[in-house]
């Protein structure tokens, strides 16, 4: 069932134990990288929660975040998601004690738009216009957020 003229994109196939080892070590490396970022963020946000700083900044962002049914503090999570990745974002989200809908909303919008700098570069190298697609992601994330909010308000989801 291999398509005719399939190009030689397949790599050499390593045996199963090698694949398991590759997977475990790649997984641990990825985890460590992520944890190095998420622990300080989580601790930072948790400690900030006890101060007026988070409140003030939260109020500043409340109008924008409110459009999507999110509290203003969630803006931090978006900054973390846009610049870094989803793991950084959830390290910010967890201490905020959001409702299940709000977590879902963050997951949806950030799932579409995250790690914009690195992934924008990936999209560019394929020859597709990276910055156009990055802009698309931001617009689509907002559209998806409004859509989910709408569905939620209609009593669905």
């Amino acid at each position: 069932m291999i398509e005719p003229g399939a190009p030689a994109v397949e790599e050499q196939v390593p045996d199963i134990p090698t694949r398991i080892r590759t997977g475990l070590s790649a997984g641990m490396q990825t985890s460590l990288k992520i944890i190095k970022v998420s622990i300080p963020l989580y601790v930072g946000v948790t400690l900030l929660k006890g101060t007026p700083v988070l409140d003030l900044l939260g109020k500043a962002f409340a109008p924008v975040m409110g459009l999507f049914g999110l509290p203003g503090e969630a803006a931090f999570a978006f900054v973390a998601a846009f610049l870094l990745n989803l793991y950084a974002a959830i390290a910010v989200i967890v201490p905020l004690n959001l409702t299940p809908f709000q977590v879902t909303q963050c997951g949806l919008m950030m799932g579409i738009a995250h790690n914009l700098i690195v992934e924008g570069a990936v999209l560019s190298t394929t020859g597709a216009r990276g910055w156009v697609l990055t802009l698309c992601r931001l617009v689509i994330a907002c559209a998806a957020g409004l859509l989910l909010r709408g569905l939620w308000l209609l009593g669905g989801v």
Binding site: T22, I39, G50, V103, V122, A144
Partner: protein, 143 residues
């Protein structure tokens, strides 16, 4: 001191959850990705791909992106896109689809772990990706 300890404990718990998701996922992927089933899947989804303006050539990078994500799947996406010499239109359509819907397994798992609804996230992303890409494919006609 006590708030700091509580924060550290919370951070460690979150880290443990993340390791429990990432390590098995990456390992499973490494073990499975060479199976022929993945290549055969291309035949099944071909009609669906045509609906959003994509050909079979885009199947490998598209599905790599959908399941793995752009950063982790970058190697495969870039290589295949160049080798197959995908036309601009198809690259853009694939990029648009992936912009909306990528790395679905990992993204949804991590948000489900912290209390979100995975089904709602997946449904909206997949639906939007199909609608947007299908629409764009009709606006940007093949040359």
């Amino acid at each position: 001191m006590e708030p700091l300890l509580a924060a550290l404990l919370g951070a460690l718990k979150l880290s443990a959850k993340l390791i429990l998701i990432i390590v098995p996922l990456v390992t499973l992927f490494e073990v499975l990705r060479h199976l022929p089933v993945f290549r055969k899947a291309g035949n099944i989804v071909e009609p669906a791909m045509r609906g959003v303006g994509l050909t079979r050539d885009a199947a490998v990078p598209l599905f790599t992106g959908i399941f793995l994500g752009l950063a982790y799947g970058a190697g495969i996406i870039i290589r295949v896109a160049q080798q197959k010499n995908l036309p601009d239109r198809e690259l853009f359509l694939m990029g648009l689809f992936l912009a909306t819907c990528h790395s679905v397994i990992e993204d949804i798992l991590i948000f489900a772990v912290i209390g979100g609804s995975g089904l709602a996230i997946l449904g909206v992303r997949l639906g939007l990706a199909v609608v947007l890409t299908g629409l764009m494919a009709r606006i940007w006609k093949p040359a």
